[in-house]
Symmetry: C2
Subunit: 229 residues, 2 copies
């Protein structure tokens, strides 16, 4: 990692001197000390994005949940579990020139996580009630002071991908949304390929199905174009 | 794996000719296509037990949820996600001379898992209701026909370890319970060491804190003693 960091520092890529926050992986929301709610995000797309940004010379703060795919080399890694922790880490990493929120953050956490293991009692079925998690994408997109000039969100959808993602971009206030179809049949979660649509003020760009690394490289180039012109 | 299987087949260990089912890892219970409930079991203890049984010559069917630690070599691996699938796999693997249920099986599944991703709507907080999962340990322990002669359960507790585990053994009807403290401070889940108590008709044996591999080897020896005498 030291070598990669040194290479990045020496790199004369277009993002030299630019600081980018990348979030990655799932979050884990505790139910009790042993049980948790999570999701099938592997962290593969986030790691690929971090790597591609480093390759263009960016200084990357990589805020990651418990992902299967390890962080890329040459980034500053901040490990978190919950959505609340992830927001704290993102805010601590500001200011930045851009933020790419590729993590699959839990929308909800368990309202009152138990401090000892929930016991199974005959005939008693628990119900879980939830509290809304902080919305990291909306919070950062709507900052009135110190907002990163470029905020990129992701929309993992299982149906009506473009419509849902277009609405999400307007609702959150981010600049771009990278939308993809994560229904199990596509194999996106846990897989190596991704078919994305990049939605911005300019409309919808449909990118062909390609490796997550290739998606990341194209996105990093697009970020460099937006930040450096 | 082929070499290890061949070695096991050729082994003249005390468990030669004995068939043992081992379950391992967490289960994952879907909430919707992308979200799930799971637990912090790594599969380390189950893998160590499978390995130790193979080393004593047993034929091992290894039924595993999505674990961090890969299955041992020389076993027949059956991969599952949910508790329902795990019970099916165990029943399909019967008859057996012994069953060691080291998996951390979810007590509950989501009553009606959604077929598309649950959307976050302003102001709406979901509640999840649960259905009780099949109890693999009790089901196999209480079989009136074809019950394995030795059924070993695990009790992962965060408090009152011995009392909870002793009651669990009687309630489930298994022969032995291997009880341990998995409260976060112990580092058992995800860690390499374990402090267990083996509860049987003979009472409670307190084993010293030792590596999970050592726990597995001692347990395999005890199983050999029980089956072969």
């Amino acid at each position: 990692e030291i070598v990669a960091a040194a290479e990045a520092a020496l790199s004369d890529g277009p993002l030299k001197g630019k600081r980018v926050i990348v979030t990655s992986g799932p979050t884990q929301e505790p139910i009790d000390p042993v049980r948790y709610i999570s999701n099938r995000s592997s962290g593969a797309q986030g790691t690929a994005i971090g790597k591609a940004l480093v390759a263009l010379g960016a200084e990357v703060v990589f805020v990651t949940g418990p992902a299967d795919v390890p962080p890329p080399e040459g980034v500053q890694v901040v490990r978190v579990e919950t959505a609340v922790q992830m927001l704290d880490a993102v805010q601590a990493a500001l200011p930045a020139d851009a933020a790419v929120f590729a993590a699959a953050v839990a929308d909800w956490r368990v309202a009152q996580a138990a401090s000892s293991k929930m016991k199974k009692e005959k005939g008693e079925i628990p119900t879980l009630s939830f509290a809304e998690n902080p919305d990291i994408l909306a919070t950062v997109s709507q900052m009135t002071k110190g907002r990163p000039p470029l905020v990129v969100g992701f929309a993992a959808e299982t149906d009506n991908v473009i419509a849902h993602a277009t609405a999400k971009r307007l609702r959150k206030g981010c600049d771009w949304i990278v939308a993809n179809d994560v229904s199990p049949a596509t194999g996106t979660f846990g897989g190596t390929q991704n078919t994305v649509h990049v939605i911005s003020d300019d409309g919808v760009e449909d990118w062909p199905k390609m490796a997550k690394d290739a998606v990341a490289e194209r996105l990093a180039q697009r970020i460099a174009g937006a930040l450096v012109g």
